[in-house]
Amino acid sequence: MLPDAEALIAKLAEQIRRDAGSRVALVGIYTGGVWIAERLHQMLGLSTPIGTIDVSFYRDDYKKTGLRAGVRPSDIPFQVEDADIVLVDDVLYTGRTIRAALNEIFDYGRPLSIRLAALVDRGGRQLPICPQFLGAAVEIASDQTIELRRDASGRLDLTLVTGST
């Protein structure tokens, strides 16, 4: 049974409020990370608009899988130089997406700091990356994935999917 996404977002907001304060700028990774960042932005009452990134142009599996369809434009509408950034993703797994996101952010400028907020951590890291803000750690089988979904009312929900990668 997966934890309730809405409760985890409230928990993340509390951690970020305590540690990072209101000077922080959020960058969400498409798609789930952007939904969570939008929610956190509202809960924390931040003034800096959120950044959104699609890491497709920075992925390390391009040679294997090519450029997938449905790439969205990345947009960071604030000054990255000297910013304190919290990078937001839904499911933390190998860490490769985060590596790609870090590289992309640096092409906008040199931030003062980047911290990572993840809704859930399913383990299985292949890179030295760990979250500073975490909703929950979960254990699932290797042939399973967790998807964050958003319903018509905007409510977020974690779903376990078996047999796809």
Partner: protein, 316 residues
């Protein structure tokens, strides 16, 4: 020409040689991807690491400034290594054949060829003779096709008009000699533009052009009426052997785009031109530099569109 050469058994784009025969989904995918590359150009670092380690050869057998330069910038922004081959200084002048040149460059570990050639079918010939890991982009072959120009024009139309449904698009001038016009007609009809018009004198329109699904006009008055997009073509002096036209001045009088003629189009119509422009021949400076002109944005979008094509091809 053979489109199977472009798309492999798995439906993936291997080469971009012509728009003809490509499905609308593929064209839209290229345009969507290009949108993401436009945002890359607005950052401090305008490069992404996608094509790191790839070698791209610009093979230009015909003069070109804009197309060659934008392909070069596009490749560099994808972090590829780019080599420009200028035919005037290459072995071709010493009698090496096209395929020998390509074979030699392949031996230098080329990953992609961008080909401009005066002969129709040159890029197809190369695509048929390279290994499966090498991709070819047609940057203009004879009077046949110029697919990336058509795609960047589609990107521009989509950007300013929000889509393709319900549009009236007029292509004006020397359709006969224009590979741009041919590729544009295929792209516009594939993407569902309901009314594509061509306007020009009989001598500069291909016979049976209406078979491509376009409406033919011989005068600007009726041809430009209520159009959303006007695409002006360059009068191709260098391709004209024979008296197809009385004079450039006569042409301007009948088909040159002036503010008065443009007033026939919708008030929010956009004016495009693939360049290089002959001011005072096919277009008046007041229009070229006017508020409805999107000629310079076309050039900027061209980089993003070429990045998208290269990014998709090199990953397939």
């Amino acid at each position: 020409m053979n489109t199977d050469l472009q798309i492999d058994a798995g439906g993936k784009l291997q080469h971009l040689l012509t728009i003809e025969g490509l499905p609308p989904e593929l064209l839209l995918r290229i345009l969507d991807t290009a949108r993401s590359f436009v945002s890359v150009a607005e950052r401090e670092v305008k490069k992404v690491p996608l094509l790191r380690g790839k070698a791209i050869f610009n093979l230009f057998f015909e003069p070109s400034t804009r197309t060659r330069t934008t392909f070069e910038i596009a490749a560099k922004r994808l972090s590829a290594d780019v080599v420009n081959l200028n035919i005037a200084t290459s072995s071709q002048t010493k009698g090496e054949t096209l395929l020998d040149t390509v074979a030699n460059l392949t031996a230098m570990h080329a990953d992609m060829f961008i080909v401009r050639h005066g002969e129709s079918g040159a890029a197809h010939l190369i695509a048929r003779n390279v290994g499966p890991h090498i991709h070819v982009i047609n940057a203009g072959d004879g009077r046949h096709a110029h697919p990336t120009q058509a795609l960047l024009d589609m990107f521009t139309i989509r950007h300013y008009k929000g889509g393709f449904n319900g549009l009236r698009v007029a292509i004006v001038g020397d359709i006969l000699h224009s590979r741009v016009a041919r590729s544009e007609i295929h792209a516009l009809t594939t993407l569902g533009v309901p009314e594509v018009r061509v306007i020009g004198p009989r001598t500069l329109l291909p016979r049976q052009v209406q078979n491509l699904g376009v409406h033919v006009f011989h005068d600007m008055e009726s041809g430009l009426k209520d159009v959303d997009v006007v695409i002006m073509l360059r009068l191709q002096h260098e391709r004209m052997n024979g008296a197809l036209l009385p004079s450039a001045g006569e042409f301007f009088k009948s088909y040159g785009l002036t503010p008065e003629k443009l007033a026939r189009a919708k008030p929010d119509a956009i004016v495009m031109h693939p360049g290089p422009m002959n001011r005072g021949v096919e277009i008046d400076s007041a229009v070229a530099d006017g508020r409805q002109s999107v000629i310079l944005p076309q050039v900027t979008f061209g980089i993003a569109v070429r990045m998208a094509v290269m990014g998709i091809l090199a990953g397939n």
